[in-house]
Amino acid sequence: MEDTLKSVLSGKKADYIEIRVEESKTDSIEFQGPELEQAGGSIKFGGSVRAFVKGGVGFVSFNRLKDLEEKVDLAIKQAELIGSRSSESTNLSPVKVINDKVTIETIEDPREIPLDKKINLFKNYNDIILSYGEPISSSRINYFDKYTKLYFANSEGSYIEQEKLDLGGNITAVASKGENTQMSRVGFGSSKDFGEARNLEDNIKTSCKRASDMLEAPPIKGGEYTVVLDPTLAGIFVHEAFGHLSESDFVFENPELQKLMKLGTQFGPKELNIYDTGDSVGSRGYLKYDDEGVQTEKTDLIKEGQLVGRLHTRETADKMDEKPTGSARAINYNHPPICRMRTTCIAPGDASFDDMIKDIKEGVYAVDAYGGQTNGEMFTFKAGEAYMIRNGEIAEMVRDVNLTGNVFTTLSNIEAIGNDFMIRDSGGGCGKGGQGPLPTSQGAPSLKIQKVVIGGKS
């Protein structure tokens, strides 16, 4: 592969060219109710070329390697068509030329487990749900593991071969009574260990109970509340509330926003520290080199409440005169890399859970995550499970809890940061620009936040 890619690149006329080739093997398993809906394998092969000419960018993807030369020429032609009309340049921040081969290290490698063994494990989980009894009426289980080999070469002389492993899943219990249907799920994920899928029996039983209890729980009354988030939901919070705004493709050509996002600006209390890292070995957001061939790092975003950094591709780093952070990621060969998170974390504080809730007269304890969304400024994050807090104690369960906030106010409303930090992975991922679900991870402790708006009938 190295010779093929390098020989195609030699002698081509463009400011910059990169080629990515990817082959992957995926196993996936899906149960719905008692049926094993799917247990099968997928083999993917494909590649893409990105060429830069005088500010224009051409991108071409393909499935047949024999077409490579023709695709490189097409990408250059497309870039020239734009470059000839453009007055602005698109430059890439300089980075080290890298020649490396990255292999994966695993604890329990899913590729060494026969498909029938994997199916049996999930069938046992499925049986736990389906034999739980009323009101549990159905189940849904999704599992995948994916092994990828990536080849990267660019016209600056870098050549990287990188192996990646990604696995994850969700196990959902469904309860129903009359027209009321409620669900609760257990998620897991890893980049090195199938063991993360094991020993989930107790969590699954808890999920069955939660789904059953939710049938009796009323929807939450809408309003502004003091909330306490568990580490899982706090992880989604940091991803939506600040992570996306740290992605510089949103900022690099927006002068007004750059003023608001000046390094040194105070965003939260002194206790607040947020970072995004490619170094979290074992989590799904782990990454040694990004899809521009840049080595990843731990990037501090907020230190002691102040903005200190952001996530960059080579293009955004050049424009803002900062350093690339190894944050250029593509969902697969069919898309160009864009600025993305890896593992986004709020560092632990020193508050205990009891301290957080003890002074709350009426508030909400929100646990576990169903996903979220942001436009950069306003964001939402949905709880998997929630309880009212009354007079400093956890009280009745409520459901349909979707929380919203605003990056310029909510971070400064963080009142306490817990000491119970953990990195959590789920079977989901992050979507952006039509590229999802991308494996990302979040780490956080419990958080106490004031004045969070929760939707619902008044």
């Binding site: 094993l36 083999i43 092969f45 224009g56 991108f59 993807s61 499935n63 159905s138 939707g455």
Partner: protein
């Protein structure tokens, strides 16, 4: 890959090969300038193999390994679910008006010109705007072959124009957009421009809102979120797996008389047209909800078989996944009122253009909760400004039964469903403070 079906047949196995060839060329403008031209190609194969009555499945984007594909599907069939129904063997009729040769013929320069026009329209209205645009031509060919002799394909064209922008208003991010995507080449951008200019007009002016119940107009884009519980609950698989609250409700009146949802897969020049579904069953017009009464669930072969019903021709799949029930070209029937008259009729209300995060969570309870990422306050029949930092909440099953004022005359295709605007009364908005 061509004789993979023959090879399976020789072994006495049933098999189906689903091949997708997709080519798309988008021209992209970012932050007011022409930035990318992409050419994305995908050629994929998905094989379903039924051996000893059990279903096996494998997929590949490599064309040179039919044996591996066959072997993987065989292996997977040893665990697969029972597959009792027969694969289709009928002859589909050819549909006209789904392929327009002009789409591929249009030169890149014309795509660039259309995008430039949208960007300039926004820049001329407000020079601080960061405008985005995308003009894309695409072509998709679907081929299905099976061991019962079905061997058919169709090719669909698609032409998409999208415009949008981000504008900083103090510390507020105003993000808006408009698009159309149809099989035929139609370079008319008047409606897109009108919508973009409207958001540029009203978006920068912010007004306060307090929590309460309001008359609400929901745009086709936000209808995608508000209608989600119904789409999820009519789904044949959700019925089969006992997740859907509608599972015992066929022939029952669940909604207001004006709620009719009808799938029209042969409607000319619409986005989801297809002569047969993604496992070869012929498609036809199917009413799911008619005048508020639930009439049909979209079903594929397997769900129909297990529910002991007839397949409706609603197998839908992506290039590399198994089929499951879905919609092709569903039309939520429009109403009598024009959007402008809906706005005029409201003394104090909210016009919801986009919701954020409302897709998350359990759809089967009917609850929809989302941040109003783009929405306006209406006072005395006029839009007065943008509202922010507030949540929209409703139970779709309830509001479309008792709180529907009307649907609009105007409709818009949002993917596989055409939605009108909906006016609802007494919908809860939760705001700060």
């Amino acid at each position: 890959m061509d004789d993979i079906i023959k090879k399976a047949k020789e072994k006495g196995e049933e098999a189906e090969l689903f091949q997708v060839t997709h080519k798309t060329t988008p021209v992209e403008f970012e932050n007011n300038r022409l930035k990318n031209i992409k050419t994305q190609e995908l050629n994929s194969y998905a094989l379903r193999l039924i051996k000893d009555g059990r279903l096996g499945f494998s997929t590949s984007t490599k064309e040179d390994n039919p044996e591996e594909l066959l072997e993987k599907a065989r292996q997977s069939s040893t665990f697969g679910r029972n597959f009792e129904p027969n694969l289709p063997e009928n002859d589909p009729v050819e549909l006209k008006d789904m392929y327009d040769p002009k789409v591929q013929e249009v030169p890149l320069e014309k795509l660039i010109e259309l995008g430039t026009e949208l960007v300039d329209t926004m820049k001329n209205k407000n020079s601080d705007v960061l405008a985005q645009a995308e003009v894309e031509k695409a072509e998709t060919k679907i081929t299905i072959k099976n061991t019962r002799g079905f061997d058919n394909s169709y090719t669909k064209s698609s032409f998409t124009i999208m415009g949008g922008a981000m504008l900083m208003v103090g510390k507020s991010f105003l993000t808006f957009g408009s698009f159309k995507s149809l099989p035929n080449y139609d370079p008319d951008t008047a409606e897109i421009k009108e919508e973009l200019l409207q958001d540029l007009e009203f978006g920068p002016k912010e007004v306060d809102i307090t929590s309460g119940n309001y008359d609400v107009i929901i745009s086709p884009s936000a209808m995608g979120d508000v209608f989600r519980p119904i789409i999820a609950s009519i789904d044949g698989q959700a019925v089969e797996k006992k997740m859907s609250p509608f599972r015992d409700k066929l022939e029952q009146k669940l909604f207001d008389d004006r709620v009719s949802l009808i799938d029209m897969p042969h409607k000319p020049w619409t986005p989801g047209m297809c002569p047969f579904d993604d496992e070869g069953t012929l498609t036809k017009e199917t009413p799911f909800i008619k005048e508020g009464t639930l009439l049909n669930f979209p079903l594929d072969l397997l769900t129909a078989n297990s529910l002991k019903m007839e397949p409706t021709g609603h197998a839908v799949r992506s290039a590399l996944s198994l089929p499951s029930p879905g919609l092709h070209n569903a039309v939520l029937e429009p109403g009598e009122t024009e959007l402008k008259d809906m706005i005029k009729s409201i003394d104090k209300g909210v016009y919801v253009k986009d919701l954020m995060g409302a897709w998350a969570g359990n759809p089967y309870g009917g609850e929809v909760n989302g941040n109003i990422s783009l929405g306006y306050l209406i006072e005395n029949g006029e839009i007065v400004g943008r509202i922010k930092d507030c949540m929209f909440s409703c139970n779709t099953f309830e509001v479309l039964k008792d709180q529907l004022v009307d649907f609009s005359k105007e409709s818009k295709w949002m993917g596989s469903i055409s939605y009108p605007y909906a006016q609802l009364e007494g919908v809860s908005i939760t705001a700060k403070g």
